[in-house]
Symmetry: C2
Subunit: 152 residues, 2 copies
């Protein structure tokens, strides 16, 4: 069972930004930190910006940051918006030629199970993914150090 | 979000057999009925037989049938056994080089959500997927007719 790469990267990108709220971050550094595709991250960034979860600043010295506090970003909303569909099994998306058509309860049972999954995420926010005390800061040499801080 | 093809076909195969408990069914007819790959179905059949959910009878006139009544086949157990893994996001399966390693709560939150999904299925059986009154019977010409019967 898998979420799409888009959702996976979206969650990880938001976590990265959530831990670096004191500065702008670049796609390049996120790609390097997670060792994932920069091209995929660009699509994810575009999508997250469209939904208003992040702000992007163009040009030299530009980058991106969260547009809201982590506690205001619902994980359920992110997953519901980033997943292209929730067709758990092939026949959900088919033209309905199945012999069980009209008699099949599989779709209903799986959709109810999926709703339980999503409601669990609806009740959680990005803040739940970020240890309240952990912040990364850039040192003068451009490398990061983690520091312990109280969440405000 | 997707289940694997193996789980998808396993659920549909079990439903097909559950509606035809008065006779043996063949892989060929299941493949035709759902318009899906016979080769994939053979793997699924093998897996379901290994777990003791179906019985297969070899040779001419052979086929397969449920090894238990539909009410004894838990949907949660089928999904838990047929899915190769539950690595919802890529980093679950990675070697752990992530920068957030040790500080990341994503795995825990997603696994809890997944558990809600699976527990919903644990509470349901194959009998819940089969309208109690519907049974398919082979007519003399080899085609099927659906009949209404009380579930016993």
């Amino acid at each position: 069972m898998r979420l799409t790469v888009m959702t996976d990267y979206a969650l990880r990108l938001l976590m990265f930004l959530g831990q670096r709220q004191d500065r702008l971050c670049t796609i390049n550094e996120v790609a390097q930190a997670y060792d994932i595709s920069e091209a995929h991250l660009m699509k994810v960034t575009h999508q997250l910006a469209l939904h208003g979860w992040i702000e992007t600043i163009r040009g030299k010295g530009g980058g991106m940051r969260l547009a809201h506090s982590p506690a205001e970003i619902s994980l359920g909303a992110v997953v519901r918006n980033m997943e292209a569909d929730f067709d758990l099994v092939e026949c959900f998306a088919s033209d309905g030629s199945c012999v069980l058509r009209g008699q099949c309860a599989l779709a209903g049972v799986l959709r109810d199970a999926l709703e339980e999954f999503l409601q669990h995420l609806d009740a959680r926010t990005l803040a739940d993914l970020i240890p309240g005390s952990l912040m990364f800061r850039l040192k003068e040499d451009g490398r990061e150090s983690a520091t312990i801080q109280a969440r405000t």
